[in-house]
């Protein structure tokens, strides 16, 4: 067999694997639906607002609820940051105007 044929077959095999994986993705989405419905119910019932992904400190545990100053004074044995603190960005609504209490968006006239 020609080298080019072998290479293309291998690439085709890789693409097929990617394709199979995307089939798997579609297929297992349904399987995860039940779990997600369960989670959604919990979120609605308890009024949860954040993922329990990083539990070291509250500014990473409840990212969306944190204020800008917490990272430096929060958590029991913390001097400063946790590794996850470097990974997460501050909440979206604490943008440029985070300092001000009136941190509401400014309306911009569209062109």
């Amino acid at each position: 067999m020609r080298r080019v044929t072998v290479a293309m077959l291998m690439l085709g095999f890789g693409l097929a694997a990617l394709g199979l994986e995307s089939m798997h993705a579609r297929f297992s989405e349904a399987r995860h639906d039940a779990a997600r419905a369960e989670t959604a119910r919990l979120v609605r019932d308890l009024g949860l607002t954040d993922l329990a992904l990083f539990t070291e400190a509250r500014y990473v545990r409840h990212i969306s609820q944190a204020d800008l100053f917490t990272p430096f004074q929060d958590a029991p044995v913390s001097f400063e940051h946790f590794p996850s603190g470097t990974l997460v960005a501050p909440p979206a609504h604490l943008g440029r105007h985070a300092g001000a209490l009136s941190a509401r968006p400014i309306e911009r006239n569209s062109p």
């Binding site: 979206a92 941190a103 400014i106 911009r108």
Partner: protein, 332 residues
């Protein structure tokens, strides 16, 4: 915002393109000053060799730019969730004043680069490289466009402010509003459809049978450019409502969303490609067939025209399909 991977990718592509375009423009100046195909001088040979590098680099840049255009729109669409008021790419583009210009210039880069590639192809057919000067003069126009595109994208992405409330497409594209978008949506759908279908048919027919006159051919290129704008207007005023099945939704960007089956890509792709082919063919006609290409150039142009005609018909066919499939009735 700048650390968003698609934005990093786009900025990378823009920066690379700008650097290549600037280098190519500097080379173009040298070509315009010293190019003499009949000379066997060391300088001429160096220039000829360098054209291989410049051409290859530009080909890569152009393929990259075409992919970047798709990525740009796709990304803008995805980022809509980050901005209050944005529903699709349009809202994201309107977050600051650089978004829309960046997008339009990117389209300009797409079309000009496609035309340059067609010109380059014709040039490489002739034994005396008849279009080299034209090609590199054209590059001097192309390079600023690429640089402008890169600068606009930088400005746009650097100034993305999530605290801005932007406008969604349903606000901008309403016949009642003011401004260009509103005017586009206010166009009579009947007229729009007539223009769209008859225009596509006429252009396809002319492209197929226009081997006649040189200036007719040039006209055809201009018509192709004009039709591009009219077709976009027709999509906004008539085709979009058919696809969304609501008479008041006119957005040309929502078409690209997955919930409409990415129909927008199917619709825009043939239109963009056909336009590029028509512009290229028209430009070649305007330059005229040099002696070395008396035989090959008309054949090449014919191929371009045929492809353009097929693409125009495909575009009209897809538009027709969306209308037939729709449950909306705009025209009694």
């Amino acid at each position: 915002m700048i650390f968003d991977p698609p934005i990093l990718a786009l900025l990378l592509a823009a920066a690379v393109s700008a650097v290549v375009a600037i280098a190519a423009a500097l080379f173009a100046v040298r070509v315009l000053r010293h190019w003499d195909i009949r000379s066997g001088s060391a300088l001429q040979i160096r220039l000829e060799r360098r054209t291989y590098l410049v051409t290859t680099a530009l080909k890569i840049v152009m393929v990259m730019q075409m992919a970047a255009l798709a990525l740009f729109v796709h990304n803008a669409d995805r980022m809509a969730i980050l901005f209050t008021g944005a529903m699709c790419a349009l809202g994201t583009l309107n977050v600051n004043q650089w978004g829309m210009p960046a997008f339009l210039v990117q389209i300009g880069v797409f079309l000009t680069s496609a035309v340059w590639l067609l010109l380059n192809r014709a040039d490489e057919m002739g034994r005396d490289y008849p279009f080299t000067r034209a090609k590199y003069a054209f590059l001097l126009l192309f390079a600023p466009l690429v640089v402008a595109s890169a600068i606009l994208q930088w400005l746009y992405f650097l100034n993305l402010d999530p605290n801005v409330i932007t406008s969604c497409c349903s606000k901008l594209f309403t016949p009642e509003g003011s401004g260009l978008q509103a005017d586009l949506s206010a166009m009579d759908p009947k007229l729009a459809l007539i223009i769209l279908f008859s225009g596509a048919g006429l252009l396809a027919a002319l492209a197929l049978f226009s081997s006649a006159g040189r200036w007719l051919h040039v006209m055809l290129g201009i018509l192709g450019g004009l039709y591009f704008m009219l077709a976009i207007a027709a999509i906004i005023s008539a085709i979009a409502p058919y696809i969304y099945e609501t008479p008041n939704h006119h957005c040309p960007f929502c078409l690209l969303k997955p919930q409409y089956g990415f129909i927008g890509y199917l619709l825009y792709l043939p239109l963009f490609a056909a336009t590029a082919l028509m512009l290229g063919s028209g430009l070649l006609a305007a330059l005229g067939a040099p002696k070395s290409l008396q035989q090959r150039l008309p054949a090449y142009q014919k191929r371009l025209n045929w492809s353009a005609a097929v693409l125009y018909l495909a575009f009209a066919g897809i538009a027709l399909y969306t209308i037939l499939r729709s449950h909306l009735i705009l025209i009694g």
